[in-house]
Assembly symmetry: C2
DNA sequence: CTGAAAGCGCTTACAG
DNA sequence: CTGAAAGCGCTTACAG
């Protein structure tokens, strides 16, 4: 039963509650001797300050809200790991807000504001620029610092942590072109995400630079990308390379290609994005862009703590390095 | 700026704050007419009660703590999805507590208690029975309801939501035995999890029933299960079937088997647990036990709400149905 | 059905 | 360096 209150501690230590509070929050303001005495009592009683009461009095909850649009996305868990590790270092708690398709985002944001979090981390795209502006306005008008993690936005006032997806798209395409592939397809998603738009832009840039025709194929689904969609693909089209905007799309496509008699990578080179476990479990192993998802989470959280503590931040738009992991699905 | 307080609402509506509070919490106690007036003002002012103040006054935070040992585990994200959906229905918030290897669990539990959550969901094990007892004692002594999700424990007083892993282990083994496989291996983890112990028990039961010798092979790692570990495996051992306690282990093993010239499923049948995306992206597709992870999350959360509201709960140990998804890796 | 008042467990100026 | 007091924004008996 560690339900001792600050009054109990004050009483047992023979000091006022103000002093106990100071020992916890501004120890340097308390005489060494008094502090030791109070600390001893705190330990004996197993006292832990009630964070709710503290939150009300100080108007700081040491809690950050983490908004997630699609919680089942593979990257989310790892990003949460990074966020959580840093949050623990800074003694912040994490409140999770999972947004479902059927929910009104703005309404959820109002809820988050009512939850009195000190800051917000907004994860993982599917956001267009308008949405980003709405969110920015909402949090700004309530004075709540926020950081977008793994979201792409061109607004210079919006704090973001991500990788340079355009460059990544360019580089992976370049890799295939340099392998003398002429008909390189980009397999993207039917739904438009800002992140995938960037990948596409990089892909297009590399193709045009090489005087090749960009060919973007949009698929819905993921692990089971529409087989029908692809059934005529191999008879109709000339294709010697494909890039999936996600590993799962790339692996899925690679499997279908093999079912259609293509040898990987001889006939067809395939690459993906994110370097997930899928890339390692596929045969052949998939070449993929490694996105430092954990780091994106960790760095966003660190940036957010700075913003919450009104530290001067030199750069609110952080781009983390990525690299290509070359495996057997390409030469 | 939705920072109107209850005072503002009371003032604008010409009532006391007690009445505003009642409109929010016990609307039936307020005269229709008054209620409408207050509701109108609430809307106009965009008032949302400060949940921290409410938490302090009512001693209920409508927040549940979710404890996660390994957040990167594939099942966690989906379970969180189930938890989150139900939590939203009941208007509970979720606070995340990720436990790292290097952390003292009991200390974390103390923190959670200090956070004043109304209840706790404990996910996804690596727990042995002693640990379960510690946790149970801790929360009981603080009067905090809790539910273990996807954790196996034999203590009848511990609320758990899971599937019958012993039975699942039995059934999948039986499937292989009925296909006339004689040398069925179980590929388990080096570390002992209660969940895997159950799978093993079911496997052993099926093997012994069939007068076959159980052979359990423990591996560390996962996606890249130790190749050296297995290098001599296929020359030394007679094996015509293998069950991985996780899909990733099964797929990884299947890949190595194929590298060693085995044809799946003719020479070697392989099955996994969890029916993750890995099972779908592997070639051949993996037969696997479907564990209703989302449902486990959802049902745990529902059970927890009952416990938090001291509803009579007839059954605090819920076992959800599972089934075998048969694919090409077995006959 | 409604209001005045106490209280939830802290923090934080303000004095001293 | 320490304490008395006000206040954070709510809820909840208690009266009426």
């Amino acid at each position: 039963m560690s339900n001792a209150t600050i009054y109990d501690v004050a009483g047992a230590a023979g000091v006022s509650l103000a002093t106990v509070s100071r020992v916890l929050n501004n120890p340097e303001k308390v005489k060494e001797e008094t502090r030791q005495r109070v600390l001893k009592v705190i330990k004996e009683l197993g006292y832990r300050p009630n964070v709710i009461a503290r939150g009300l009095a100080s108007r700081k909850t040491t809690t950050v809200g983490v908004v997630i649009s699609d919680i089942t996305r593979a990257s989310v868990a790892e990003m949460l790991g990074g966020i959580s590790d840093i949050a623990q270092n800074y003694h912040y708690s994490i409140k999770l807000f999972a947004i479902r398709e059927d929910m009104d985002v703005i309404d959820t944001l109002h809820d988050i504001v009512a939850e009195q979090v000190d800051g917000v981390l907004y994860l993982n795209d599917e956001l267009n620029e308008n949405r980003v502006e709405d969110i920015k306005r909402m949090f700004n008008s309530n004075g709540i610092p926020f950081v977008f993690a793994n979201v792409v936005s061109d607004d210079p006032d919006v704090p973001t942590v991500s990788i340079d997806y355009e460059k990544a798209g360019y580089e992976i395409t370049k890799l295939l072109i340099n392998d003398n592939r002429k008909n390189v397809y980009l397999l993207s998603t039917a739904r438009r995400y800002s992140v995938n738009d960037k990948k596409e832009a990089g892909y297009v840039r590399a193709m045009e630079e090489a005087k090749l025709e960009p060919k973007i194929f949009r698929t819905s689904g993921d692990t089971n990308i529409n087989r029908q969609h692809f059934s005529t693909f191999f008879s109709d089209k000339k294709i010697d390379a494909a890039i999936g905007v996600r590993d799962s799309i790339a692996v899925s496509f690679m499997n279908i290609a093999r079912d259609n008699g293509r040898t990987i990578p001889k006939d067809l080179a395939v690459a993906g994005f994110q370097n997930t476990k899928y890339a390692l479990l596929s045969r052949p192993n998939l070449t993929s862009i490694d996105v430092p998802v954990y780091d994106i989470g960790a760095v966003s959280m660190r940036l957010l703590t700075k913003l919450m503590n009104q530290k001067d931040v030199d750069n609110i738009r952080i781009s983390l390095p990525h690299y290509i992991v070359k495996r057997q699905s390409t030469n």
